[in-house]
Assembly symmetry: C2
Homo-oligomer: 482 residues x 2
């Protein structure tokens, strides 16, 4: 930039140019090293990305082999099969299936209509034919493009509309010169072969299920909320007490991943709807209810964001106020946090979330306590301005207890619609983590065709770690592939 702006003398220009050229290899090397580091990080964060890349390579090689080996004379067909693989193969099975079905259906429909349009055009004579063809192309492109704006179509059939426009136009326009039936037939068969290869590789080789991702994302989000909320009380009163905490408190920021996860959740739910029974999830698992749970989780996240604002505010609660409200506030935040973590665990292992009930009750009784505490006479001698920060925190926490209960209700609804197993109420996070969960696990090792529950080792949560990098990494793992 500086070089180009050049209002300096010529010698200066050349000196600058030389030093810029000299710096080039160093810059290039730094860029390369940075990129290599990014790539390594990308693979480590989610090894499924590496597997996905290999799967795309495999599917493409498979289709190419087929065409190089079997249909030696038809390079044109090979192109369509290769193109289908490249365009249809997506990260998750649901997305691949959805795109494959969209493409197949649209090709079939557009092919049929295209042939019809072609015959219609033939009837209208030598001059009328191209005019009618152009008119039909214009008409269907305009109508189909407009229909793509309809929210329902946009969500599930956008790709089908695109392929419909494409195939119809191609068949009517090029059919003007070529053998149209042959073209339609070859296009349909190559698209089918390409799509079948994608679906086959996608399902057979280390499948990535959008439904499972959605399930895990929702559970992880609620767990993150729980971690943030559980730690908040202690952290807040430590700070108002003047203690500067030394250890990394990034787990308090876990809730931030929830604020903007709406789009990820919606696309995962859309993809999941295409997926057949897999693992613990039957076909027609109530994926839409996950969106409801996700929305309530976001409502909680907005309130934790407000709490976090209090944590970093200029004016903090004075120590005398803190002393009075500390116990009840810490209890509210800890117990709601714990209940959220129990709810997350219940989703993860697909059992009724009854283990969260006691924590919610505790949080509610703490909320009741603080209300009666605020009614009492101990405040008379205290300057109200000093009371505000503490009272605001208490008030938001009371609100959060209400929202935690709402969230729990929505998870109960999910659990009943998705037929989660019920467990004895004594089972808690602790017993599960201490490794005494063998009986629960084996009791639930049921085929997905049966009740849709199959607890695997990998689905059990890792012990709640104070490690800051864990939530972030998991968040990215869930979010990026959409």
């Amino acid at each position: 930039m500086e070089v180009a702006s050049g209002s300096g003398d010529k010698a200066g220009f050349f000196t600058q140019g030389r030093s810029w050229l000299k710096a080039l290899p160093v810059k290039f090397k730094a860029n390369m090293v940075g990129m290599a580091r990014n790539i390594k990080k990308l693979g480590q964060e989610d090894p499924r990305r590496v597997v996905h890349s290999l799967k795309v390579g495999l599917a493409l090689t498979l289709v190419s082999t087929l065409y190089l080996g079997l249909f030696k004379n038809d390079g044109f067909d090979a192109i369509w099969a290769v193109m289908t693989v490249v365009l249809v193969f997506e990260f998750s099975v649901g997305a691949t299936l959805g795109k494959g079905l969209n493409r197949g259906m649209a090709t079939l429909l557009a092919g049929g209509l295209g042939i019809g349009a072609h015959h219609l055009a033939k009837l209208s004579g030598h001059i009328g034919e191209p005019i009618l063809i152009l008119f039909l192309v214009f008409l269907q492109a305009t109508i189909s493009t407009f229909l793509r704006f309809l929210p329902k179509i946009k969500a599930r059939y956008d790709y089908a509309m695109l392929i419909f426009i494409l195939t119809f136009s191609m068949i009517t326009v090029s059919g003007f010169q070529e053998n149209i039936l042959e073209l339609a037939h070859s296009r349909l068969s190559t698209v089918s072969i390409g799509a079948a290869a994608c679906v086959f590789v996608s399902i057979v080789v280390f499948p990535v299920w959008a439904g499972e991702d959605l399930h895990n994302l929702i559970a992880l989000n609620i767990e993150n909320l729980g971690n943030s909320l559980e730690g908040f009380g202690d952290e807040y009163f430590k700070r108002t007490g003047g203690e500067e905490s030394k250890d990394d408190k990034k787990f308090l920021e876990g809730y931030k991943s929830v604020l903007n996860s709406k789009n990820s959740e919606e696309s995962l739910a859309n993809f999941a709807a295409w997926e057949p029974c897999h693992g613990r999830f039957p076909f027609r698992h109530p994926w839409k209810l996950y969106l409801k749970v996700g929305t309530l989780a976001r409502e909680c996240a907005y309130r934790i964001e407000a709490l976090n604002g209090c944590l970093n505010a200029d004016i903090q609660a004075s120590s005398e106020v803190s002393n009075i409200i500390q116990e009840a506030c810490t209890k509210m935040s800890r117990e709601s946090g714990k209940s959220l973590k129990e709810l997350a665990l219940a989703i993860k292992i697909m059992v009724q979330p009854s283990s969260a009930d006691s924590h919610i009750e505790n949080a509610k009784s703490a909320a009741k306590n603080i209300k009666s505490l605020l009614k009492s006479g101990i405040w008379e001698d205290i300057d109200l301005l000093k009371v505000i920060p503490g009272v605001t925190v208490a008030s938001i926490l009371i609100d959060l207890v209400t929202y935690t209960e709402k969230l729990s209700e929505s998870i109960y609804e999910l659990a009943s619609k998705a037929q989660f197993k019920s467990v004895e109420p004594t089972l808690s996070l602790k017993t599960l983590h201490s490794g005494q969960n063998q009986s629960v696990k084996s009791a639930q090792m049921v085929n997905c065709l049966d009740v849709g529950i199959n607890v695997r080792e990998s689905t059990l949560p890792s012990p709640p770690s104070e490690n800051s990098s864990a939530p972030k990494a998991s968040k990215q793992r869930m979010g990026v592939q959409i």
Copy 2:
């Protein structure tokens, strides 16, 4: 559903079936009517959708005419041009240009490398050739697919990577049998013609600029925040005073569109970066700063969401508390709301946001007032529990005043980087709306090549209306096309 579950007797089944069949035409008609209504609404909400559909039809017809008329013998080439149009044509100029350039560059690069790979394969003998080809296809597909996960590449060059994989595979695989140079050449020329047709129609016929959309979206979001915040104070104290407001208060919900606009903003900023100088925006307009402003606007929205929670809470501030805090709270909410609306207006007409300063000062002094009010002795006889709801509202409002100031600072930064014009500080929303803005307008009628400001009639805000449908419709107009 009820028919299929059938555990009832056969007669019942048939009766049910018959009534279901009878209801079918009625249902079908209702569905059709509903769909027609949706389609009409879609077009009315944003007539640009209809225009976009016609533009796609036009570009496609144009390319088809070219191939039907000029290159009569090459149906194969027509297919590629048609395909390019269908895949490249997007709603905004930026998206179309981005995709077109991505496609062109990737086709050129992959074509060159594909021909190289083909010659390399030729050197390795009759048996080695297919093996080497398959190996190269596998290698490049795997590497390119993995690189698509890199955030920087995903944001701007995702489509190029896709086309690179596609073209490279197609040329190496089908080049095994055909005249490869001819294939590469024909593919490149048809892609160029198709992309050029898209870019031409997109820019010449009623262009939709992503940059302008982003600019308007940010301004609209801040205006929505302002409307919600400005009306909040009055509404809150009306309710605590027991008054039930009759008129539609949906403008209070305007802030909700801001909560989830992150993705729209990011994609619009990405598209805008591809766009040349247009209207009031020069090339290299600081689009990234809009994202910063958008993030701060969202921080405000989270806090307004918390306020809205107070509006619908079970426990409301008692009337004696209300009487004390009402004036200062209403002033804070009204003045911050007004300052947000002035900020939105400043963005819209691209002037320095100095007209918002006085409102921010007023809001700050109100915040100071309420702080000293809370320090005073008037609270001693009041039960603290009754104070909480009111104090929480006050506290969140104080926080919001701080965030409004932060937002204003970020808009000042944008205004200075984007060289917004400065206006005399007396200019306010009122003078602009009362039609006395002719001098300001003509003073800023400068070509975009000059300083990037060109105030047009259409960019001036409509008068702030209490009409509930306005913010919603505009929101959808901005958000859906992404």
